[in-house]
């Protein structure tokens, strides 16, 4: 698992590679929270996540809500068909903001101000 962080004007892009499961959630959470400040927008690029477990999903939701509580916006992008289906079937997809790709995501986050 690796976390790549890239600061852009509109948002902080965070790309996760590898497995997002109970063994990696704590690290990812720490890395993300260390990289952002209150009010920052975050675009989480999931296109290189190879496995998303139930615990991984719950971590994402905690992160999403933490950032929202600090007046930021977190969005997901790059969901594979399998991950997107799994999130949709279990009701999680409705709880997140998602974008088709980075560009659309960044544009939307820019508008969000």
């Amino acid at each position: 698992m690796e976390v790549y962080i890239e600061k852009q004007e509109q948002a902080t892009i965070i790309a996760i590679t590898g497995q997002l499961n109970s063994h990696t959630t704590a690290q990812i959470q720490d890395d993300v929270l260390a990289a952002i400040h209150a009010g920052d927008h975050v675009l989480l690029d999931m296109s290189r996540v190879t496995y998303l477990s139930s615990a991984g999903l719950r971590m994402l939701l905690l992160l999403y809500r933490r950032i929202r509580d600090h007046h930021g916006v977190m969005a997901l992008t790059g969901l594979s068909e399998e991950v997107s289906d799994m999130m949709s079937i279990t009701g999680f997809l409705d709880l997140f903001t998602t974008f088709e790709n980075r560009m659309i995501g960044l544009q939307a986050l820019k508008k969000a101000g």
């Binding site: 499961n21 109970s22 477990s53 139930s54 615990a55 719950r58 289906d85 079937i89 279990t90 709880l95």
Partner: protein
Amino acid sequence: MAFDLPDRIDNQPTHQYGQYQLRAGKPYPFGASIVRNGVNFAIFSRHAVSCTLVLFRHGEPTPMAEIPFPKEFMVGDVFTMTVFGLDSSERDFEYGFRMEGLFAPHRGHWFNPDHILLDPYAKAIGGRDVWGEYVESIYPHRAQLIFDDYDWEEDRPLEIPIEDLVIYEMHVRGFTAHPSSEVKYPGTYAAIREKIPYLKELGVNCVELMPVFEFDEHEYDRYNPITGEKLINYWGYSTIGFFAPKTGYAATGRYRMQVDELKTLIKDLHRNGIEVILDVVFNHTAEGNEKGPTISFRGIDNKTYYMLAPDGNYLNFSGTGNTMNCNNPVVRNMVLECLRYWVSEYHIDGFRFDLASILGRDQYGAPLANPPLIETLAYDPILAKCKLIAEAWDAGGMYQVGTFPAYGRWAEWNGKYRDTIRRFLRSDGGIIWEVAERLQGSPDLYYSRGTGASINFITCHDGFSLRDLFSYNYKHNIANGEDNRDGTNDNYSWNCGWEGDSDDPNIIALRHKLIKNAVSLLLVSQGVPMILMGDEIAHTKSGNNNTYCHDNELNWMNWALKDENSEIFRFFKHMIAFRHAHPTLRNRRHFVHRDYKGSGYPDISWHGTRSWQPDWADYSRTIAFMLCGKHAKNGEIEDDYLYVAANMHWETHRFEMPRLPPKFEWYLFADTGLPTPLDINEPGAEVRLREQRYYTVKARSIIILVGKPI
């Protein structure tokens, strides 16, 4: 000082076993619960001498640890401890128990520490993660932890009055397993969600799911004598764990997210105005008799969980090998806690209890006058608003249709409705008075309990499909591998002159008409109608009336039939909409046969070929009735007048309609004697009759008229 002190002392270990740190557990709640820093385990056994917790890494063949419950942690008959450091965040482990005690089947004890036993309170069960995939294991059905953190948003059970329901009895897998369903994940909870628009189009507002508690589809060792295929426990009336949803029905079972998937389905059904009733099987378990596998209850405390004869043999009131000891207070509590769990954690709207009469037997099998379990469920505060529906008989000879102890709450599958209406539909004589009772919500059985006590159905999963009811005189169950002995012989069916499928257009037309007659009567009857999945598109089970063991087209709904039999689907759809449109069909209390609204008509009046002169003679096969719209919902609201004439005679009869008040006229809603699309109209778009006095009803046909202002 560089020490990190814990904030509290009560969540710190006091004991050590190998690498595991322990603390005395909480004996309640039973099962495994996530607590701060660890997991609390609690399991009851009255007769075990000792118990060991067995831990596996997810999916591993051999245990990662075995931890005996320290004697000093025991409370009463409950083995309990808290184990620290288990990674509950991912639920990466699975757990079971070994129980030591007496092995003496003739005395009712089956303890054997070689078996790893499933927690009866397991909230998720692994091992059969994908439908049909068999995994050999020393511990095949594995208890897992779940998070109770589902976000229900605004959802809660719908609490639709029971008499307003149109129930659709369905099988999770059968609904979409057929390739014609064209769903992404066939045979799953998710696929039902994808098909909600279909349920809405049909118009049902309640689905009754055949068993969704974890079961083992691989439990049989028998083969289809025709095809050689292995038989499957397809229906699932054979519970392994009462608190866990069937994992193999979840598209996300392999991610261990079946709980979230089922809850998401329920939330979405609710959003669409559809209630969810579960068919629950508390009368027996998958462990069968002494020849069956030891999975859980038998090895944990056989004598508590099962009804036994004095010689230790299993009593068999369920017809499946064993009988749950439902009126043992410990088992009774488990049933109660199970139902409370499904209502509070899954927002379930109601339950249908398979062979519910067993719940009214004492520990030796004798029927109880005042069965505590049935009473407890009726008065339980958490179950207070949910529907309780009994299959009011069992395989031990108890038949309680009309007499099931109701405590003002319980409804029943009305088996007498099914039989009487089937006989009427095939033109049997001598039952016309009974037909009248059934159409009125069976006041002869339920007068004090109201119409909602009667779940009316003509077909259900047990028995012929509606199409087969008019295509076969006899059951054809050879494929079940029991020499055609299984399944009922009392089908009250009629093959319309040819046994099985026919390409004779006259036979096909007659069968279609009889299907329409059936659904017409069902949806104009007082009480609660229940439709069997697939009947609305004329699904056939090829004459098999007991398809419990087939994972194939006998049970899979073929979606192509929706176009092929669009005539039938359309008829169902309009009949269901008609029922929803007319509160006069959905009274809560029974008719009183008089005019208490001053409308000039009683709430219900009976007619024959002459108005006001019903023919109650033994030879009579005709009946007509009028419902006064001023008496709708027991006089609370106004509706149109309705008139239904059923001519099940094989000859045409001219019916004289009762006169309507001035400025009202009769409009035709349905006439099953007419070819499609004249057979039925959209509710509200009924056609004014030119002849207001008489209507000629063709042989074996039903008309439904609406009386409304000109």
